[in-house]
Symmetry: C2
């Protein structure tokens, strides 16, 4: 009996404080939802299937209930489930069923299965509007199939692109969604409504070793101009193949610095790739160990990005052609980025070599790569950018996170007290959504409390 | 000087009370707006042009301004301009510029010009979503091109399908639209959320001679079973061609009764076709003049519908294949009706022969006629049906109008005091939008006053 009690106590602690490795709990249901391939055309009646996950272990069936709905984004839904623990903490308190629906074209929700990526035209139905309509129809059908949730208010949760979708679900489907937790969502990182340099300025501030990293990149560009220089770089970075240009290497560097800052969480995690606590600190610490010498700054960069690409030490070489975010659907995202998610992120030279963002070059490259049309103003027309016309949304953002450059500012929502901007000092990318952790700074605890109180209001808890 | 004063006085009266035949005023600008043919796909970069009209004669450029925007619907925008006079009365009072944008695929806004109707697949981009995005982008661009209206709140106006669009603009683009006057808009006349018989029950109540008209139709069906009977009908109705079946005749009868009630205005007008004041009264009066005899009830119908089809007396015969609404784009509307505007309007036998609405028959016929897919729940998923999640909308409805069957009820909006349902006793289809007239009943004067007061609140007038 003593042993059993301990197990029960441990389970209760896990559920209450979400401190266990088994948290969030496993889904109580994994299923497929049939949706239309094209919600907006007249002639295409084909359908496709979306994967979805449910956890109803916190629901007291005798009480009014809520639905806490994660708006799946650019990756496997199971990865977002594992990295969005605070939604479960709140669900337990507020008698909510937890539902995660995978975004079309990501994870296992591929309309043409393995053949989806064989032809760019298969992606004709990949867009935020199609995804939002999937979610709206799913929720109407879910309530119809589960009458006990018929009157349950729905709260959306999401981070990054998922946070954009969470907010946009509330904005576009206010008859379905009672409120939204929109974490680190760059809903305003679009033409004319954000400073194109802001994203990289935040990164520059994040890296105390930015001057070294900036100098090193200029030296790399210089070395890239000769076969001998490329050979030197191949040796320094231990690239898997001899470098023929520095393009992929430069991309790998900017990715490591950007993603490293995004997931600069206060504890080790594998959200994007296995990383230590506060990887940015470690990256600059490692950069500082570069021995003085001819290529000092270049070696510093190698040491820094090695934290990002090889923290486990298992990589034998640096694959500059590989994806920096194996847990996300980066290939598919590139299509969305080319079509509608056109984030202007130029560099003023502080961390990365100076480069103005060019809409025409961007559109040309997209046309070349996928044959598709770039619509830089579409999102702002469709969802409003900084103009938020519906209430009941919390926009959270971390001061460390480069995506904060495109987040909603307090002055954007001053007209409506039910729209709340929460700034998390020192916070990285949607840290607030993650499972509470003993290493969390006070700022994120406060943010979660704001979110909790707002949800109380929305669902009348 | 006396003459001139009289002219000035008359002009002032015209503008103030909108009682003159020159009201509404002529547009001060007629132009074309280039929009994307497809707002939602990735690969199609073609564009098309929408006709739009503007009147800025009421704008005092030294004061804060508003934009009163008519959401064009299924017809030529000039016809809606001519029949939406109250919008101009309000614009004059509230310092607003008046803008009417034509709906894609109607009037002169045809993406493929004269060839548009040559192939059903040319209508791939005809939908409410595409039209709303046209309007949203138009307004963003209009404000950019006219900086004096940059901060001007936008109020949408529309009747019938245009009223649906006016409401949906506010629901879907709350960052663009401050409020909406949604007149006689059957936003809830869809599967599962309205009584399929309600539309025809209102018509039955409208026609005091309904029992005669109902009996006559059963007799027509009976006569249609034999060549001799068809010959009798050809003679009674003076059809342009000898009848081979009664299908088109029955359609012509139900159209005349439905449209006659819709435009049962208290003064003569030509909105759909030239008609007298209160045509429904005249239709039943004429029916009562049918001489007793074998086909008394059939003759009564002929006399009734002759008011609708031949009020001017210029028609030499009844063209049962012609359009009952020459001023609307009925052919194009059929495509929208087949695809997304699936109104379930069955008959319980009170006015028309008993017939349950069949979604499967409807979808089959649409597939056969246009090859397209019928989506009976799409509108409800997309816009919410009776669930209105955004405030600042007036939903008006006339008790005489059959479309009131699908309008928003007061209990649907009890949760939000900024959503107002106005019922116009004795009112026909969006009578409130029309130019004020001495013959107007008090109910519509009251409705216009409610709309005026709500707009004041929305635009902070």
């Amino acid at each position: 009996m003593v042993l059993a009690s301990r197990i029960v106590l441990l389970a209760a602690l896990c559920a209450s404080f979400a401190l266990c490795s088994t948290f969030p709990p496993e889904p109580t249901r994994t299923d497929w939802y049939t949706t239309k391939l094209d919600h907006f055309g007249l002639f295409d009646s084909r359908s496709m299937k979306l994967r979805w996950l449910e956890y109803d272990g916190y629901v007291d069936h005798s009480k009014p209930k809520a639905i806490f709905f994660y708006t799946g984004n650019e990756g496997s839904i199971t990865n977002f489930w594992a990295n969005t623990g605070n939604q479960f903490v709140l669900a337990k308190e507020m008698n909510a069923v937890v539902v995660f629906v995978e975004h079309r074209y990501y994870g296992k929700s591929l309309p043409f299965g393995d053949k989806t990526s064989s032809n760019p035209h298969n992606y004709e139905w990949l867009s935020s509007e199609q995804a939002l309509m999937d979610f709206a129809e799913f929720l109407d059908d879910y309530k119809k199939s589960n009458p006990e949730y018929k009157n349950a208010p729905v709260v959306t949760f999401g981070g990054s692109y998922g946070g954009m979708l969470a907010a946009w679900m509330r904005i576009k489907y206010p008859h379905v969604i009672a409120g939204a937790i929109s974490a680190s969502a760059p809903v305003a990182l679009f033409r004319d409504i954000s400073d194109q340099y802001a994203y990289n300025k935040i990164l520059e501030k994040d890296y105390t070793c930015a001057p070294t990293l900036a100098k090193g990149q200029l030296e790399i560009l210089d070395l890239g101009r000769s076969p001998a220089g490329l050979s030197t770089l191949t040796n320094i970075f231990k690239t898997c193949k001899p470098l023929k240009t520095v393009t992929d290497l430069m991309d790998a560097i900017s990715s490591a610095l950007a993603y490293g800052a995004m997931v600069n969480y206060p504890y080790p995690n594998s959200f994007l790739t296995p990383l230590p606590a506060y990887p940015v600190t470690m990256m600059c610490d490692k950069a500082a160990t570069a021995a003085p010498g001819t290529h000092h700054n270049v070696v510093a960069i190698q040491k820094a990005i090695n934290v990002y690409y090889n923290y486990t030490g298992s990589a034998k070489c640096l694959d500059v052609e590989g994806s920096p975010t194996p847990n996300l659907g980066a290939e598919v995202w590139n299509i969305q980025a080319c079509n509608e998610m056109v984030f202007p992120t130029g560099s003023d030279g502080g961390l990365f070599p100076k480069e103005e963002f060019s809409y025409s070059d961007y559109a040309r490259d997209c046309r070349k790569q996928f044959g598709l049309t770039t619509r830089p103003d579409h999102i702002t027309h469709m969802y409003g950018g900084r103009r938020i016309g519906v209430g009941n949304i919390v926009f959270s953002q971390g001061s460390f996170d480069p995506w904060t450059a495109g987040c909603i500012n307090p002055e954007d929502v001053a007209h409506d007290p039910t729209l709340v901007v929460v700034r998390i000092e020192g916070g990285a990318h949607h840290l607030d959504l993650r499972t509470p952790n003993a290493a969390d700074p006070q700022s994120v605890r406060d943010a979660r409390e704001v979110e909790r109180r707002e949800i109380h209001k929305w669902i009348g808890y």
